[in-house]
Each structure stands twice: as structure tokens, then as C-alpha cells.
Amino acid sequence: MPHGYFSLARVFRPALFVALVLSALLLAGCFSTRGPRKTERSSSVVSYLYPDQANPLPPTSIPVLRLPLRVGIAFVPGKSDISEQQKTVLLQRVAAEFKGRDYIQNIELVPSTYLRAGGGFANLNQVRSLLGVDVIALVAYDQVQFTSNNLLSLSYWTIVGAYIFSGNKNDTQTLMEAAVYDIASRHLLFRAPGASRVEAGAAAAYVQQRLRTDSTAGFDAATTELITNLKLQLETFRERVKNAPGEVRIEHRPGYTGGGSLGMCFASILGLLFLARAGVRHRP
């Protein structure tokens, strides 16, 4: 019996070795030792507004802005979308920056379900009727994520190394753009971009998790820049409206609130006049 036992072990030892090597190879393959990979998520204002038009015609009518404005803000539908919750958080950040301005009545966050891919101005007119917005800020994005291996990825062969060593390098590049349109006249009023780049390392086992975190961080950083640029573009637009009133017509919505005000400037001029009068009277 003992003799037989030993002969059995002799038969299985090479097979066990081959099985171990194969499983190690297969596991290591799971931890991505392939070349650089690329993930892309994007949406485009042009594809949404002019889906089948190679050369869209420019709008002919002058935009009429009725103050105070009712503004909508929405993400343009895109491929490989980001989550609705993430979109809402980003839009809320943009909206919060522009609330409380005297020429904005309200800012409406338009849910993605209200916009369909390639919907164009017909879709925007539906949103206008449904939510009562006159101007819409369409937010488009383009995010590309690259993952490549570095020297530490050799440790993945040990299996344990795939959990410990950051053998993957992630690079997340995000570009966001807000284009503000007057829906009725189809005029682009102004636009503002925002960009960010996030680089991070990750162990093979956590690459996907890290990519998701980087994606969120990329959108956050790009939104911050977008808000700064939006404020700047809004100021430029204000100046443009003042200097070239023919470009955009400003009207007031019926039912505005008015105030009778004389103001500090008028009171100051009156005060100066009064001082001048006192000076003249007391002159010998």
C-alpha cells in the first residue's frame, strides 16, 4: 500500500505544477496586463441641436429677452452617459452661482428624461412649453480616460501584488461646455468652457473603482472652471448688450415690480447744488 501511495504522488506532482502555473497565468490575465485602454463618454451640442444638418442655417431674427429671465439648464444627451444623480449635483452647482441675480426670475434644472438624443430645437420648444423657460444653458461634456501599466504591474504576476502595488496609471481628461441659447430665436447668446485633468495611480484590483472616482473629480474640477468662465462670459454679454443694443432686444415681462427711487447720486448732486448756493449767499 505505501509503495502504491508513493507511485500515485509521483504521477500527480507534474500535473499539480501545471495546474498552478495555468491558474496563476489566468488570474494575472484578469488583472489587466494588456496595453493602454481608453474609455470615452461625451455629448455634443451640435449633434443634439442639428442632428441631420451638415450646414445649419444661422438664425435670422433678433433675440428678444424678456426680463426677468426664466432659465433652464440641462445636460445634452450623450453616449456612455454619466449618472442622473451626478448630473443633478453638477447642474445644481452651476445654478446656485446664478440665482439671486435681479434679471433672472428662476433657474430650472431640466431632467435628462425631457431631452432626447438629436431632439434639436423642436425638443427645446417642448421643454420651453413644459417648464416655461425662455433661455436654456445646454451643458455638453467630453471625458476621456486612459489606463496604462507601469513597471509595478510586473508585481501582478504574484496575484497579491495586484492588490498592493499601483501598477496602473490613470489619466482623466474632461472638457465641459455650456452654450446658452435663446430658444425662441434659436440664437446662441454666449458660451463658456471648462476643462480639467486628473492623474492617479491604482492597483489592478481597484482600477475600475479609481477610474470612477477620477471621472467624478474630473467633472467637478471642470465644472468649477466652467462656472468661472460663465461668470466672465455673462459680464462680456452684459457689456455687449449695452454697447450694441441692436444685437439683442431687452423687454420687460408684464407684471414686473417697480420702485420709485431717487438714489444717492441724485441726492448728492442736490447737496452739492445746495452747498454752492450757501457759498454764493455768504460771499461778501
Binding site: 435681479d102 452684459r238 407684471g255 427711487s261 431717487l262 444717492m264 448756493r277
Partner: protein, 222 residues
């Protein structure tokens, strides 16, 4: 030879009407809950709350709005009431209502209105007219209104005040930049029509009611 003693200078009348209006305006500012009842609101007016035509002027949309309006009103109204008490008091009663009525008729898009500037403009214009009239005929004193010390030639000053008001209203109508008008609370814009009506009311009052004195008030003697 003894010279006859000079007649004692008559004390200028106390501007109680102006003081009442100022107190009322400050009272409304101190009790914001009153604003909803007193503010000019077109829908409420259409429901029959006509007092709002008059009271809307005493509601303000912020401390700065209140301060500058009241500063000009206080000076103009008290000065004016001391010079021409009867007509000033009549103007204080009539101008808020007439301005409110004009806004209701001529500015249908105006949903809500507040601020004393229309009345203050009216008082300032009336004061300027009164002063100019006194300077034009210093010898003839209105027996219904107390004589005051004859001022030196301030005609240029009062003309400048009138010109400034006209320029301001003209600029408000012509160069209106409603998009970015800076007004304390959001969404409120200036209404130059209220100022224009204020000027018209003061002009009519000055031109047509010179020497006005209500019958129930005793006539001054001496």
C-alpha cells in the same frame, strides 16, 4: 423822535403734515408685515383695495431705497410746508393718489410698486416753483401764507434744481438699462413715469391753486 417798533416776525407754521407722512413711512418700514396690505398691487387694486393707490408710496424695498427717498422728501416737504402750508398739505394728500392712479392707468405691466420718490419729486418741484415765485415778486406777499425773510437772488439755484429733475427723468426714460439696473432686491426696476407724474401734479398745483386756502381754516389777519 421815536421810531415805531418793528412788527414781530410771525412764526413759520409747524410742518405737521410732513412730519405725519415721515412718521407713517418710518412706521411702515419698521413693521414689514404692513407692506403686504399697503403696497401698490395691481391685482389687489382690481379686487377693490383702492387705498393701495395712496399707500403704496410709503412702502420701500430696502433701507437704501428708504433712506434716499426719505432724505429728499423730508427737506423738500418741510421747507415747502413752512412756505406754503395749505397747498403743500393739499399736495401731500393729492399727489400719492394721483401718481398711483396714473401708474394704474398708464402702466398696466406694473404689477407691484413701492417708494416715495414720486411724491418727493413732486414736493421738490413744488418747492422750486414756490421759491421762484417768491423771488419774482418779493413785494407782493400772499396774505394766506406767512411772509418770510426776503432771500437774495437764488433764482439760479431753483432753476438748476428743476433742470436737474427734468434731466433725471429724461435720462431715465431715454437711457434706461433695465437689464442691469441696480436696485436693492432682485427683479425691481425704477419707474420714471412716477417721477414725471409727480412733476405734473406739482406744476398743476402751483399754477392753478395759488392763494389756495381751505374755507374751514380761519383767515389770517394783520
Amino acid at each position: 423822535m421815536k421810531t415805531p417798533p418793528a412788527a414781530p416776525a410771525r412764526a413759520l407754521p409747524f410742518p405737521w403734515a410732513s412730519v405725519c407722512v415721515i412718521a407713517f413711512t418710518l412706521g411702515v418700514a419698521a413693521q414689514p408685515a404692513l407692506a403686504s396690505t399697503l403696497l401698490y398691487e395691481r391685482l389687489a387694486l382690481l379686487r377693490g383695495e383702492y387705498w393701495r393707490l395712496w399707500t403704496g408710496h410709503f412702502v420701500h424695498f430696502g433701507s437704501s431705497h428708504l433712506f434716499w427717498n426719505l432724505a429728499i422728501f423730508t427737506v423738500a416737504s418741510i421747507w415747502s410746508e413752512r412756505l406754503a402750508p395749505a397747498r403743500t398739505r393739499l399736495l401731500l394728500v393729492a399727489s400719492p393718489g394721483l401718481i398711483g392712479l396714473a401708474l394704474f392707468g398708464l402702466e398696466p405691466a406694473l404689477a407691484t410698486y413701492g417708494g416715495l420718490s414720486g411724491v418727493a419729486t413732486s414736493m421738490l418741484v413744488f418747492l422750486s416753483y414756490t421759491q421762484l415765485a417768491r423771488l419774482a415778486a418779493p413785494a407782493t406777499t400772499n396774505k394766506n401764507e406767512p411772509p418770510t425773510s426776503s432771500p437774495t437772488s437764488d433764482r439760479w439755484f431753483w432753476r438748476a434744481v428743476l433742470a436737474l429733475i427734468v434731466l433725471k427723468i429724461g435720462a431715465e426714460f431715454a437711457l434706461q438699462q433695465p437689464l442691469f439696473t441696480r436696485f436693492a432686491p432682485a427683479g425691481i426696476r425704477a419707474v420714471p413715469l412716477a417721477h414725471l407724474i409727480g412733476v405734473l401734479v406739482a406744476t398743476v398745483m402751483h399754477r392753478n391753486l395759488r392763494g389756495f386756502r381751505p374755507r374751514f381754516l380761519p383767515r389770517r389777519t394783520g
